[in-house]
Symmetry: C2
Subunit: 271 residues, 2 copies
């Protein structure tokens, strides 16, 4: 793994304690942030979400200054890359009982910015529908926590490199998200994204799109969407912090209409 | 954390890579094993379960010899302690896609044997009923994987040191297990333990009890149990590899009858 550099609890090339509860139980949260021209994009929104996700599972989030200084150890002036921040509850004794005093761990990993084929932006991407279902767990819904075995199992379902991502449904066959992206379905001038009260990850880019599409004459709506409703959409868009908004041109064998909307949204997100 | 010693990928005092998928996604499994007189108890059963859990999520389990040699670096002749073995999928690139070649990590941690008050064995223990529910995920049911945030949240629910463990229910109010133990309910001469096809961890000690209670004139049964049925049991027993079998004398405000059965089973397990 030569393509990565990392800082652990402030130490460049640091390593993780075998007693870290992030490893033992997935007891922590994370963020994936696009770094453009040496600057983490939307840092204040990402930090806000990190803090709120930490708080949801009772972890005191390290300060934004501390995390920014960790990132600055890794990011060169002017470079484009991806920064991943993991916050865990830190070391623990054996067993689930919380440590009397928690010292959260912070792990910041820099990776190369992925290079996507130009056709993903110009023509859109293909998705599959995963068999792995997301069960309802309202206490963890929306949180980008470290318990991601379902995403791993879902990603193991396809090997076709033409498939960009897979759609995750809950046990009611409601659309929730993709393994690494949120999803929007446009019906006329309403842009609907799944409600994530029971499962799924509520991403920062999803929220930015919800907050901004009125400027494009669209109405954003958070609602339950069945897979049948999704496949009848006038247009489908997926988004995350790295690739921004992308059109979906095909889901399994279903061809999905595309317009320039994803490109317009993607450009809006950069501004 | 002075009470632990560990071996990571064969190295004493080794540390974990920040790129390990066990940390990133909880992409791995674990075992907790009682070490008595310098020997891991029921090692072949534990290894069999480790291998089967690894296989269920597509990890090639390191050999029993390798893991035994890791443990031997830690365990002194004649000592009593607890060995925890974590197997992860090893380092990964960014994203859920499996590495082209996985190099599973093995982390072995030795802890002191916990000292339980004598009254736990002589009088039984008290349990609470947790609010945190275990959702159904048949693809991960039974596996002792590293996605254990639900156990962490459940353990955060009580602070009373008199409560030994908490009962976890699924969304249908079926009893599944405790946060750190499996559970049995005796009705007349039938010893019932919850079916774990949809969630929960199928422990080695649970299986040993299922396989052996006929010698005590009892019939073992794996079935759905509601919390109401549990509370009407003639007797309730919890078990894990560390404390063996213990009687439950109280669940919330409900006093539960106890006999010597847990003690008899506990002694049987040691043989």
């Amino acid at each position: 793994m030569q393509n990565h550099a990392y800082v652990v609890n402030g130490f460049l090339h640091g390593t993780v304690s075998p007693l870290d509860r992030g490893l033992a139980y997935g007891d922590g949260v994370f963020r994936t942030i696009k770094v453009v021209d040496g600057m983490p994009e939307c840092w204040s929104l990402h930090y806000q979400k990190l803090e709120s996700d930490c708080s949801a599972i009772g972890i005191v989030c390290p300060s934004a200054d501390l995390l920014m200084s960790d990132m600055q150890q890794l990011i060169q002036t002017g470079e484009d890359s991806v920064a991943k921040i993991i916050i865990t509850r830190g070391d623990g004794e054996r067993g689930y009982t919380l440590p009397a005093v928690s010292m959260p761990s912070r792990i910041v990993i820099k990776s190369a910015m992925p290079q996507y084929p130009e056709a993903y932006a110009s023509l859109g991407v293909r998705l599959s529908i995963c068999d792995t279902r997301l069960p309802w767990q309202p206490k963890l819904a929306g949180i980008k926590h470290l318990n991601r075995l379902e995403n791993v199992l879902a990603r193991m379902e396809w090997h076709d490199p033409e498939i960009f991502d897979g759609i995750l449904l809950d046990n009611e066959c409601h659309v929730i998200e993709c393994t690494s992206a949120n999803i929007f379905a446009r019906h006329a001038n309403v842009l609907i994204t799944p409600m994530l009260d029971n499962c799924g990850v509520a991403g920062v880019t999803r929220q930015r799109i919800i907050d901004s599409v009125h400027s494009l004459g669209l109405q954003a709506k958070v609602d339950v969407i069945t897979i049948e409703q999704l496949l009848k959409a006038d247009e489908i868009i997926i988004c995350n912090s790295i690739h921004g908004a992308l059109s979906v041109r095909q889901i399994q064998e279903n061809v999905i209409p595309t317009t320039q909307l994803a490109n317009v949204i993607r450009r809006t997100l950069v501004e």
